[in-house]
């Protein structure tokens, strides 16, 4: 008889062993990956949230900067998917909320006490920042975030295709619609404004001579000019000349570089990839004006670093943000120009960034300065979502634009009352 059969593995022992394993498994799960470093380095443990950038090398770069910091163990959560905002908002309510996170300046984060006042760390270098960025992060004289990058967004086009179709760069929305029709062939669509058209919604407002909010935070987007622009966009949407349902969305240059469209709305970050694919056959132009009272516009998007005011390590997090996004100028320039192209919000870094001084990037900087509109801290995610609905209903669906704008204004007004009383 084998030794194995002499063992006492009766049902009871098996049950005990299984229960022991289950308990051990449970305990292991309790100590599982919370996203925080388990130690091994010096100082506090910090967690930072980043949305997944499309440019190759960005995740590695952020992790490299974090590793170089000696004051704390910084763990990076690289959030993939298209709903970074929702994931961030939900995480901020939990004990596993990030200590440091990137986002856009929005007043509800300040009103709900979610983000820490960073005035003291920015004050010594405040004058070196783009003053529009400082303004967009300031509430009641306090600065709540450090801008990392400015991201101008405009139209990219193929000059060779324009020459072939014998068309000029459009300066009005009507012209854009006409040009798109002439550029369309059996292989290529005229223009691409994103799969759901929402990336250009603010530009439609600005180019129609309106604004999202007034200076005293009242709705300013519900105008006849904007309604007219929505009607014109509907014409473009149904023309068959617009690229719809592309496999990659507007922020990725693939639709443009793969020859699916002659014009694409995108950001300056995509320039290196476009230049690599198309060489010199790229031009840029701002969102054309809408109606006679309008003016061309460029979105000056971007990302900023915030410190979770309800986190356990607020001071350590502020120290880290100061170290990386204020003191480490070489990392800031690397982040802004080594992967995609972005404009550094620090004037001194922007001036020394040689990659932005010539060619297409320099043109991008010019449009940024001439036509750019910066973040409005009072224009919150809920308000953005309300205008998303206007785009969906009046352009993609065919509801009355004015009625949609009226409904949107009511929602925005309710939001504003909650925020400002």
């Amino acid at each position: 008889m084998s030794a194995l059969s002499n063992s006492n593995w009766d049902r009871r022992n098996v049950l005990r062993a299984a229960m022991g394993l289950a308990a051990a498994g449970g305990l292991t799960a309790c100590g599982g990956n919370t996203g925080r470093s388990s130690g091994g380095g010096s100082g506090d443990s910090l967690v930072q949230y980043f949305h997944a950038y499309g440019e190759a090398g960005t995740e590695q770069a952020i992790k490299k900067y974090a590793k170089a910091y000696k004051g704390a163990n910084v763990t990076t959560q690289w959030i993939t998917g298209s709903n970074f905002e929702q994931k961030l908002f939900a995480a901020l309510l939990t004990k596993n909320a990030p200590d440091v996170f990137e986002f856009h300046p929005q007043i509800q984060l300040i009103k709900s006490g979610q983000v820490a006042d960073l005035t003291d760390i920015i004050a010594p270098v405040k004058d070196d920042f783009n003053q529009a960025d400082i303004t967009s992060h300031t509430v009641d004289g306090k600065i709540y975030g450090v801008r990392m990058i400015d991201d101008p967004q405009f139209f990219f086009y193929r000059p060779s295709l324009f020459a072939k179709a014998k068309v000029e760069v459009p300066t009005t929305l009507e012209e854009l619609i006409e040009v798109s029709a002439k550029l369309k062939t059996s292989k290529i669509k005229g223009a691409y404004l994103g799969n759901d058209l929402t990336p250009i919604q603010n530009n439609l407002i600005w180019s129609a001579g309106a604004d999202t909010l007034t200076a005293d935070n009242k709705p300013a987007f519900n105008t006849d000019g904007v309604a007219e622009g929505l009607k014109q966009l509907r014409t473009l949407f149904t023309s068959g000349n617009l690229l719809l349902g592309a496999p990659t969305d507007w922020w990725d240059p693939s639709a443009f570089t793969q020859g699916l469209t002659a014009i694409q709305w995108c950001g300056m970050w995509a320039m290196p990839a476009m230049i690599e694919a198309l060489g010199d056959d790229i031009g840029i132009f701002p969102f054309p004006k809408v109606g006679s009272a309008g003016k061309q516009s460029v979105t000056n998007g971007g990302w900023s670093m915030f410190v979770n005011a309800k986190g356990k390590n607020v001071e350590a997090a502020k120290e880290y943000v100061k170290w990386l996004w204020i003191d480490q100028k070489q990392y800031q320039e690397d982040w802004a120009t080594s992967y995609g192209f972005h404009i550094p919000p620090r004037t001194s870094i922007a001036q020394s960034a040689t990659k932005l001084k010539t060619g297409l990037p320099a043109e991008g900087v010019k449009l940024f300065n001439e036509f750019g509109h910066f973040d409005n801290i009072g224009w919150t995610q809920a308000m953005i979502a309300s205008v998303n609905d206007v785009m969906a209903n009046s352009v993609r669906k065919d509801d009355d634009p004015k009625a949609q704008l009226d409904a949107c204004e009511k929602k925005v007004d309710t939001e504003l009352k909650k925020l400002f009383g």
């Binding site: 289950a22 298209s82 905002e85 929702q86 908002f89 939900a90 309510l93 509800q108 709900s112 979610q114 292989k187 799969n195 759901d196 929402t198 949407f237 068959g240 690229l243 719809l244 349902g245 592309a246 496999p247 639709a255 699916l260 919150t380 995610q381 809920a382 953005i384 979502a385 998303n388 609905d389 785009m391 969906a392 209903n393 993609r396 669906k397 065919d398 909650k418």
Partner: protein, 321 residues
Amino acid sequence: MSTTTTRGVAQPAPAKVSKDRPRRGLRASSTFNFWLFTGPFLIGLIVFVFVPIGWSIYLSFFEARFTVTPSDFVGFENYKQVLTDVDFLNSLVTFTVFAAFIVPATWALSLGLALLVNRLRFMRAFFRSVFFLPTAVSYVAASLIWKMSIFNGVRFGLANTVIGWFGVDNIAWLASPDPPWYWLVIVTVRLWLQSGFYMILFIAALQNIPRELYEAASIDGAKPGWQTFRYITLPQLRATSTAVILLLLVAAYQAFDEFFNLLSKATWGQPPLVELYKMALGENQNYGAGSAGAVVLTMLICVVTLLQGKIMGFGRGEEGK
């Protein structure tokens, strides 16, 4: 001669009762064993189901924007908001349209597949696996494949390539609600994902139908095919069909992943869970209204399920037929 004789067959030995160590106390009691096995699951149920439900009901009576520990009691205000919210009411219409198609379509397809696979004389296991395999695919992954590879709007999407062979121009399947091509995308992805699972249930039920019934019918002159299917197979599958329809209906109520991933930033084709997600976990972060909507939806599911069970006789068993 009896056919049930047990002569020559070894009988099981009677259970050995130990006289030395009589079991006593808690360890011997069936109550202990009950708690031993159900306790961990009960704890999980309480922590992960009942507490969140209770907390959700609590939140539904408070103004809870950007917080889950609110202090501003608003009574039924959130319920009033949800029940007058056009988007939420539209989501119930979306669900009704979706359920009205997906439930019978999945039932018919899975039953059809089961009948086909069950009649196979060779490679039955292979085809059973082929049809069952999509069940293992995540809804998110499948939705992205459908959206980016099969039903994208460009010339090299699979669907557009196929219709292109017949001279039809590219269609942007998901971009516009007019015409509502998005339903084709949503329905096909769900049919592909879930039919295999229900096919397995039907195969099991088909194999439980006594052969004698078919033999008796044959002797009585019933023709094989539609006649036996209608008068023998279908009635014999009644219990399974009822359970399948119930499961399909609940699954339709729970629809989220494919709608969320296929119709981003659309205002149409939003089922209740997507609408509640937007309300509570989207840009508005309104946990009070979202919780009120969840309570309303839960009650609605309970009512519909009970009604459906009553109409179709779920749980009545054989004697109830």
